[in-house]
Each structure stands twice: as structure tokens, then as C-alpha cells.
């Protein structure tokens, strides 16, 4: 993507009206923060509800006979076991068992509905075209926006505009009306909070966003707080915490691979994934909590007590809800147990830190089958 062809989402003008600071991200001009600022936006999402424009992400529909088995050649997730109306988190793997992108897959009825990362979507679509076979139809839904409504008040807000959304369990999908607009809704998100992602036609997206923003509990939230929220929730950012050299097992995503798929393989890179499952991965993604107040950013070296490099931070910063610095990164497997003392080389100075269990802030997802 060249700089002169920066893209805009359907909500671009609304972001400007709301006073957003816009930055280039994955080829799009996106709001990094609004006038409230990253700290206030983060706290608002954890205490009320935040509205995020994630229309830069790719939305793809796959259809055709045997679509589930076809997609399983490209991902380790159990797509054949996915019931209609359910959502699964999985990843495209390469022949080395590395991660090409992470994605959400919804079973809509007979079709699959995918949401992929903005920076990877061209590559993902080419990968799907090459890998799914002739019988599978790939529709890139370029005329749809994607909004995320996240936070403890998200369910009550949605219930006022979409009564059908209240009964949805975590990681479920439904085609329902939201404020009268036809939408594809999932109960999912990227903040660790309860909430929804709403796929809406671009022509309706500004009106829907304005209706939701008119709710007293809802504020617009930029990419800055999106990043600090997902980091506190221990969720991976593709390109930082996941990449083509990292296996899902190293990334701590073993839970996304069912017993059947672990045993049968049948996806790109299965040999490496099965080897990591059987013998243990050589390195693992862990949470890391600095002892003092200095944040450790991505690419900071992680050292053992003797000063030997044992890993690297892949995401790091400050957690507004945690009230201090936090990071995640990869360390040699022997150092991955929570409580392990490590040091972080911040601007040349080793600083004490501990390996900790994630999430840093407890998840508060909707309990399946419970309405609120």
C-alpha cells in the first residue's frame, strides 16, 4: 500500500466531526484517539461502553458444498464442529506452522463469515483463492462497515436497539436488525469486556453509529485505547505477537485447536504444530509485569538472572485499568512459568520483572445462554 492511496472507512467524516486525531494504520486513515484521550477512552470502555470503527478489517463470505472441510485445510480450528450461529477464533497457518493471520469464523447457516485483519486482508483473500478449491465461492464484502460496541453497558445499550441481541451468548452470530438496519452481529470483541461486533451496510453505518453514540453511556474509542484494552486482556495483535515464524502453540493458542484437529492434522504446518504439542514448544508467549513503573515496549530484550537474552517483548505499554506497565512477549519455555523472575533491558538498563498469568485484567464476557 503506497502512502498516496490511503483509504477511508465509511465513518471517516464522522471521526473528523468528533474531533478525532487521525493516523495511517494498515493503509487506512483511522482515529487513534478522540478529544477525551486514550486514558479516558480506555476507562470509559471498562466502566460504560465504547464504540469502535473497525471497518478497515476484511469481511469475507465463503459458500459452497464442503466449505467447512475446505477451510480446515488452511486453519487448525474445528470448523466442521461449528454449529450454525456460533463463532470461532482461529488462524491461517503456513507450511512451517507459523501464523499468517488470525481471524474470526462465524457459521451463518450454510455459509461461513470471516473477519480478518486489515493489514493482511489482500494476502488472506489470495490465500483463500489459492487454497479453498474451485467449488468454494469467495465474496469479499467491501460494502460493509464493522462497528464494535464493547463494555459492561454494551448489552443494555444493544437491547434498546436490537432486542434479539440480548439472548446471544458469547461467541455467537446472528443476522438481526439493529435500530431497523439489517446487520450481522456477533457477541465478541477485542477488549476483554462483554460486547458486540456489528457488520452493517456502509450506507447505514453512519446513521447506526450516530444512534449508538447518542446513548449517554456510549463514547467513541480510538485505536490507542483499543490497543491498551486488548493488551490488558492478554489478546494477541497480529504482526506484533503473532507472525509467520510463530506457531499457535508457542503463542499459547492451543485452546483454539480441538482434540480431533490435533490428532488428525490436515492443515498447513500441522507437522510443526503436532511436534510442539507432543514435545512442548521451544518458546512461549507469556505475560510480563515490570516491578517498577517504566513501561517496556515491543522489541525490548528479556534477560535471565545471568544477563543472557531469553526472549523479547512483542507488545508492551501502560495499562490504565491495571494502573501500571504491562507487557507480553516470548521467552524460552524454561522461563515461562508464572512467578519467574526476569529482567527487561529498557534503554540499556536491566529492570526487574515477573512472568505472570494473563489476562492482566479479568475477562468479563457474557456467560452463554444468560441474557445479562
Amino acid at each position: 500500500m503506497t502512502q498516496e492511496t490511503i483509504l477511508r472507512t465509511p465513518l471517516y467524516e464522522l471521526h473528523r466531526e468528533l474531533g478525532a486525531k487521525m493516523v495511517p494504520f494498515a493503509g487506512y486513515d483511522m482515529p487513534v484517539q478522540y478529544p477525551a484521550g486514550v486514558m479516558a477512552e480506555h476507562i470509559h470502555t471498562r466502566t460504560k461502553a465504547g464504540l469502535f470503527d473497525v471497518s478497515h478489517m476484511g469481511q469475507v463470505r465463503l459458500s459452497g458444498p464442503g466449505v467447512e472441510a475446505a477451510l480446515e485445510k488452511l486453519v487448525p480450528g474445528d470448523i466442521q464442529a461449528l454449529a450454525p450461529g456460533k463463532v470461532r477464533y482461529t488462524m491461517f497457518t503456513n507450511e512451517q506452522g507459523g501464523v499468517l493471520d488470525d481471524l474470526m469464523v462465524s457459521k451463518t447457516g450454510h455459509d461461513l463469515f470471516l473477519v480478518v485483519n486489515a493489514a493482511c486482508k489482500e494476502q488472506d483473500i489470495a490465500h483463500l483463492r489459492a487454497g479453498l478449491g474451485d467449488g468454494i465461492k469467495i465474496d469479499v464484502l467491501e460494502d460493509r462497515a464493522l462497528l464494535a460496541l464493547q463494555g459492561p453497558e454494551a448489552a443494555d445499550v444493544m437491547a434498546r436497539h436490537a432486542p434479539d441481541a440480548a439472548a446471544m451468548g458469547f461467541m455467537s452470530w446472528a443476522a438481526i436488525k439493529v435500530a431497523g438496519f439489517d446487520c450481522f452481529v456477533t457477541r465478541s470483541g477485542y477488549t476483554g469486556e462483554d460486547g458486540y461486533e456489528i457488520s452493517v451496510h456502509e450506507a447505514d453505518s453512519v446513521a447506526l453509529a450516530k444512534l449508538l453514540l447518542a446513548e449517554p453511556d456510549v463514547a467513541p474509542i480510538g485505536l490507542g485505547a483499543r490497543d491498551s484494552l486488548r493488551l490488558e486482556a492478554g489478546l494477541c495483535l497480529y504482526g506484533s505477537d503473532l507472525d509467520p515464524t510463530t506457531s499457535p502453540i508457542e503463542a499459547g493458542l492451543t485452546w483454539t485447536i480441538s482434540k480431533r484437529r490435533r490428532a488428525e492434522g490436515g492443515f498447513a504446518g500441522a507437522a510443526t504444530v503436532q511436534k510442539h504439542l507432543a514435545e512442548g514448544a521451544p518458546r512461549l508467549r507469556v505475560g510480563i509485569k515490570p516491578v517498577d513503573k517504566a513501561p517496556a515496549r515491543a522489541h525490548t530484550d528479556v534477560l535471565d538472572a545471568s544477563g543472557r537474552k531469553i526472549g523479547e517483548i512483542t507488545s508492551g505499554g501502560f495499562g490504565p485499568t491495571l494502573g501500571g506497565p504491562l507487557a507480553m512477549g516470548y521467552v524460552e519455555a524454561a522461563f515461562a512459568a508464572p512467578g519467574t523472575e526476569v529482567s527487561l533491558l529498557v534503554r540499556g538498563t536491566p529492570r526487574q520483572a515477573h512472568v505472570v498469568a494473563m489476562p492482566f485484567v479479568p475477562h468479563r464476557y457474557a456467560i452463554p445462554g444468560r441474557t445479562s
Binding site: V38, G224, S228, A294, P295, R297, F318, P325
Partner: protein, 125 residues
């Protein structure tokens, strides 16, 4: 008598005699956003004009603060270490970063006054 100068890197230095008090401008704190951490030079440390002197971090990123002049650090403002948000609230007054004894006051000649700095910031928008 004191006089305040500004750099193109958005630091200010208020000079009284041979002591300069250094901080970051209101424009700089606005661009950074919520400050969550600051690292200051130790008293006695030698700093050079344009060289790294302090670090200021927002939720998203770390930024270097450069010394506007060459000299030795005589004081560091521990209040902003304890309370980094003070940098957002009072960047050009209470949230000074460090004081430096100037070894070459002639270096001030290359810096901007308030009017020139305001015009510089307006030109960057």
C-alpha cells in the same frame, strides 16, 4: 530577570543567571497525550545541546526529551516522577523536568522566543 527560550523539538528553557530550567511545551504534551512515566537525568549528569536528557512516555509510546543546552544537571523534578499527569496539567510551570548549569550561554542564541515558537508550531499544523 529570566527569559524563556524554545527548541524545534518542543522543549522550553527558562534562564536565570547561569541556571536554566527545562521542560516540554504545552504543544508537546498535547501531542503526546496522557503521560504515564518519566525518566529524569541524575543530578550532576553532563548533558549536551540536542542530546538525550530525559524520557517521557504516554500510554502508546516513549519519546526522548533533549537538552536545549550543554551543562551539568543541578536538580530534577521528582514531583513529575511521582505524578506524571502533572506534565499534562502544567507543562510550562509546575511540571519542569530538570535544571542545568549552562556551560555555554551562547548556545541560547540559536533558540526561539515565544513568538517565534508559536509561529513554528502554527507552521507545522
Amino acid at each position: 530577570m529570566s527569559k524563556t527560550y524554545f527548541t524545534s523539538e518542543h522543549e522550553w528553557i527558562k534562564v536565570e543567571g547561569d541556571i536554566g530550567t527545562v521542560g516540554i511545551t504545552d504543544h508537546a504534551q498535547g501531542a503526546l497525550g496522557d503521560v504515564v512515566f518519566v525518566e529524569l537525568p541524575e543530578v550532576g549528569k553532563a548533558v549536551t545541546k540536542g542530546g538525550d536528557a530525559a524520557v517521557v512516555e504516554s500510554v502508546k509510546a516513549a519519546s526522548d526529551v533533549f537538552s536545549p543546552v550543554t551543562g551539568a544537571v543541578t536538580a530534577a523534578n521528582e514531583a513529575i516522577v511521582d505524578q506524571p499527569a502533572l506534565i499534562n496539567e502544567s507543562p510550562e510551570d509546575a511540571a519542569w523536568f530538570f535544571k542545568v548549569r549552562l556551560s555555554n550561554p551562547g548556545e541560547l542564541d540559536g533558540l526561539m522566543d515565544r513568538a517565534a515558537y508559536d509561529a513554528f508550531v502554527a507552521g507545522q499544523q
